[in-house]
Symmetry: C2
Subunit: 343 residues, 2 copies
């Protein structure tokens, strides 16, 4: 913090750039959220429009904290797609409307805000927040399972994120059914093919088109959502919609199987359920994932605890703000192009 | 080595205690094999008889190195079963004839040899040898896949074995086919259910009993083996035995799938194929495992190299000798009771 604390008492901004919404927070020096703002991700206008929305969101959060953006120590952005933290670019963010090529987001946003901007992968920064300030505190080693649009993951060993060559944690692309369902990544039988919100939406549409009854799409319209968001799934489950229940059951089974395999490999004692859907469905579903792990655990008498993320919806934005503390080169490794977004 | 090098120039003994054979080596201070001996594991007499055979094997290897066992800096033993390195006990070594309960092997063998004895898990010590002296040298991070009686594994991150809570590396018990074949561990669809030599032998017997043709059991008798050893499988493959080929194909597929999932999780660049069957079948089969991984790799343009262990059949005994260098408490964590032996 030595280099940044001088600006306005070390206030840091963080933005979680999601496929449907932008969440901004301002963190105090003691890591308290002292300002926040939320707005929808623009559905048109591509990265330029998104940059304007990001600027407006963090400006509103900063204002709530009594600060101007130019006085922030910096702003971190957690984004889907392929992040080059050093170059400050976001590429192949297929979850973001109209974002096809590579875009110099850090540079453009820094110009608009008058303060430094750092980028990180959305799943990684949400996990970083859990590690430092959320359910991961004091847990040492854990697997973060990000259950959202896709299924991502993070591995924390002895208090540090293990990134491998830059793309570690792809628990969503561990295989649970060889030659199984087609995954959005193009391979077969991955956890994400059963548990990713995108994959579940595709399956729900196919079943609805075949005439199977469901309230999912009616609820989607009622709630004014363009897609089956976590809120839509949660509402359908509350209404005991049979198809929603069946698809979520399949997701829980896949998540449990893949997570158990990861635990058998790493033998660590904690799993934190992160991601939009995981956080929305909460601890009851974390408990169900724990149950789905049991048939596959090699050391059953040391079954890991499975807890839901502690920071809720704000975790991604808080983790993005923590990027400001990191040295630029350590803010995040270059991600491979095919990295699926999991929030 | 400070505490041990004084005895006979730092000669260390190492023994690989397997289900069918005992392999002993003596390592010089510069880690050269300066003596070796091999004998069958006694099929009767339980741990007491095994202790006598271990004593005789290491005495013969020491004699070949021009030393008496009491002048060795110490002797390490790599054993299947549940190892308590601190207490010096081996329990539940189901692969060893008549070894049902817990046995104070370190104490008994030390009395017989007149030098300190340290115990380690067989898969872990073989991997340690590869890490320090074999294919793992200079590779930094790798996954060791031990393909033998069972399928074990080891994870090396930044040059150190990652042991988790003591049982990490169970790549054999990652799930590749949910609700798939019954595994020797009692669960379903594990890699080991398809690729473990025990599981393959059970499958071969069942198919032969149903009238399917195979040369496997004829070769077993011709070679004077009580079980389908790695040598029997290799011979049957050389003879193009259709059942052997089919079962090995299934094993390669399961190993490739499970290993690819592990790589997706950890994103590291090397896989070392260890274990009796892996070493016996050699690099051509390591290449086939690499091929079976490809459909499941998340970052295909950085597919890991897959190489066979560099120390061959002696790796287990060499790794056991390296235990002598370790501080007692670090020689190996307590293993869970259900740990399957993979050699």
């Amino acid at each position: 913090m030595a280099g940044t604390a001088g600006r306005n008492g070390g206030l840091r901004g963080g933005i979680d750039l999601g496929g449907t919404k932008i969440q901004a927070v301002v963190l105090s020096r003691s890591d308290q959220v002292v300002g926040e703002a939320r707005r929808p991700t623009p559905t048109e206008g591509g990265p330029q429009a998104a940059t304007v929305a990001l600027r407006d969101a963090i400006a509103e959060a900063a204002s709530a904290a009594g600060a101007a953006t130019r006085s922030l120590a910096g702003v971190g952005v957690g984004s889907p797609g392929s992040i080059d933290a050093v170059a400050g670019t976001v590429s192949l963010a297929r979850n973001l409307p109209g974002w096809e090529g590579s875009y110099r987001l850090a540079e453009r946003l820094a110009e608009a805000l008058g303060c430094p901007v750092r980028l990180g992968n959305d799943v990684e920064v949400a996990n970083l927040a859990e590690l430092r300030l959320g359910a991961g505190r004091g847990r040492g080693s854990f697997i973060g399972v990000s259950w959202g649009t896709g299924v991502g993951g993070s591995i924390v060993l002895n208090g540090r994120q293990w990134k491998g060559r830059g793309a570690a944690g792809e628990i969503g692309h561990t295989v649970v059914v060889r030659d199984g369902a087609l995954c959005t990544c193009g391979r077969r039988g991955c956890v994400e093919a059963y548990a990713g919100r995108n994959a579940m939406e595709i399956a729900a549409r196919r079943r609805a088109d075949r005439g199977e009854k469901t309230s999912l799409f009616r609820l989607m319209k009622q709630m004014g959502r363009p897609r089956l968001t976590s809120g839509v799934w949660a509402r359908a489950l509350e209404e005991s919609d049979a198809m929603a229940r069946d698809l979520i059951d399949g997701a829980v089974l896949a998540l449990g199987t893949g997570t158990a395999s990861a635990i058998n490999l790493l033998d660590i004692g904690s799993v934190i359920i992160e991601g939009g859907l995981g956080i929305r469905l909460g601890q009851p579903y974390a408990d169900r994932i724990a149950g789905a792990m049991r048939p596959h655990l090699f050391v059953l008498d040391r079954a890991p605890e499975v807890v839901v993320a502690g920071l809720g919806d704000l975790g991604g934005a808080i983790g993005a703000a923590l990027l400001v503390d990191a040295a630029p080169a350590a803010a995040g490794a270059r991600r491979p192009p095919a990295r699926a977004a999991a929030r």
